[in-house]
Amino acid sequence: MIYQGKQKIWSDYQKEIPDNHWFYVRSCIRQSFFPASEGHFVKIVRDLLGKDLYETPHHTTCGGIAYHSDTIPQETAMTIVARQFSLMKEAGYKNLVTSCITSFGNYTEILETWREFPELETRIREHLWKACRREFDKPEYVAHASDVVYKLRNEIAEKAKFRLVNHETGEPLRIVEHIGCHYSKMFPHKGVGGAEYPCVLSGMVESWGGKVIDYPERRHCCGFGFRQYLVKANRGYSVSNTHKKFESMEPFHPDLIITNCPGCPYFLDRWQYVISEQTGKTYGQNGHGIPALTYEELAGLVLGYDPWDLGLQIHQVGPEPLLDKMGIAYDPARKYLGLDEKDIMKPGLPTVLKCC
């Protein structure tokens, strides 16, 4: 009985994710800091696995960061999103997939609020018509891009060139997964596995041969906090929260961190650099950091894409120890070259953190 009860509860947190025909909306942060991640999402889903994924150049920010930094009213954020829905309707799609977790939370919150307060949806329809002469249909399904990769994880595994395994010892890599807060903390039933046991990333890790590490602060925020990072005076909040997570995961010796939110890999990467400069402490082996990758980057490595095409050179924490463990060949001389092998110099080096 108890087992059956648990099975029922677990089934409430599963998502039936459509496997095709997606209208794709991009992330402001991911485009700025991890542009190749989005590029490889499109490449893997559309070109490699043959799915229908459409993007219009006319879509814009969803306004989520401006909204969660309290600089625009709620109805403004809702109407910007309604415009994206209108573009989706024009293009003839019904499944929306967002690259950004803040956007995913924003879209989900808006649809849930309209469900509870239909008069607000009516008002937003009026706003959109007055402002843009546009009408919209609500999407039948809203997914985060990591949901789509989770859905396709076994197809990716079938085409894998590398596994998340130490190629010398044969042991699975020890992997920390970090889920963005707005993926399922607000609406647990919208995330695979809910807020308590989200398995959208751990499912990928297990399918690709790695071992997921549990640690005390696994569900703690990365420390973004919108205004708590964006305003220079507040960044003590941001780095303190990241520090708390690293101190908690350190005893478990992770080989890698995988994330699904655009901001989280930035903070889990850059604050390692700052902590090393401030305290001299590093969390990887022999003075290196722990690489913090996006799920697209990890899927790309598994599928055998070149690490420098994936953009791993624009992380501050060097990926080389991870590439060496996986047995992935790379050319250090090509790491910082521009398009067509153009010499565009190299970044400076941190004082403490080893980067290559």
Binding site: P35, G63, I65, T71, E116, R227
Partner: protein, 232 residues
């Protein structure tokens, strides 16, 4: 029922975020902001539930409501389905509308945030964009991102982005017709009025503090007094 409480009740985030708080403190226990700031969401919800107008006004003028990171970890854990983070959003909205945000150091930060983010949205179509990301304001982005910013066009082209160009792809130029629609949405839904309100109260505060607008902008972006953190 008082005036400020009535105003809060009109906000859908307030309707969603405050039902009946039993003051258990679970929100405070899980809160990343409470871990480091002198911040207790349980007390905030209790203050509002009491409908004490003077106490609510004091909150709207305080640093307290600006400590939250809006991660919404509190929403998951509350046994009564409250959302302290949502209530905070409603409080901040009202504080911005009434100009009360200029009474506190953390509240005054709304000025640089409003200017920077809405410039990006209205002129570029992005909330964050490399063309307005200044390394000196973000030394934590590290030497690698300093290099990216110094070689933007080359690095983004190398990584397959469509930086500043027409058509789809990462960092594409958003067509002017779409930016015009965003501006029309801002005008229609109150965002333009909000920007003007924040500007008006901020410039009055700058004058009161004896600063030029630029000095005030820089000061509010960078200044952190002692006393905000638990260990101070």
């Amino acid at each position: 029922m008082g005036k400020l409480y009535d105003e809060l009740c009109k906000d859908y985030r307030f309707k969603e975020g405050l039902h009946t708080c039993i003051n258990c403190g679970t929100c405070t226990a899980i809160c990343p902001a409470a871990e480091f700031y002198k911040y207790d969401p349980r007390k905030i919800l209790d203050t509002i539930q009491r409908k004490d107008e003077a106490a609510i006004e004091a909150l709207l003028k305080s640093d307290t409501i600006w400590y939250c990171g809006e991660c919404m970890s509190c929403v998951t854990r509350c046994p009564r389905k409250n959302g302290a983070g949502l209530v905070i959003m409603a409080l901040r909205n009202l504080s911005a509308k009434l100009g009360y945000f200029t009474y506190s150091e953390k509240g005054r930060q709304l000025y640089p945030l409003t200017k920077a983010l809405n410039y990006n949205v209205l002129n570029l179509g992005y909330c964050v964009h490399p063309s307005t990301f200044v390394f000196e304001d973000h030394p934590e982005s590290g030497p690698v991102f300093k290099w990216v910013l110094e070689h933007k066009e080359d690095v983004y082209a190398r990584l397959g982005a469509n930086f500043g160009k027409e058509g789809p792809g990462a960092l594409r130029k958003i067509p002017q017709e779409d930016l015009d629609e965003l501006k029309a949405i801002y005008d229609e839904t109150g965002a333009t009025e909000r920007i003007e309100t924040v500007e008006k109260y901020s410039l009055a505060k700058a004058e009161e503090m004896g600063m030029t607008p630029d000095e005030y902008l820089k000061y509010t972006f960078t200044h952190c007094s002692k006393g905000h953190f638990n260990n101070e």
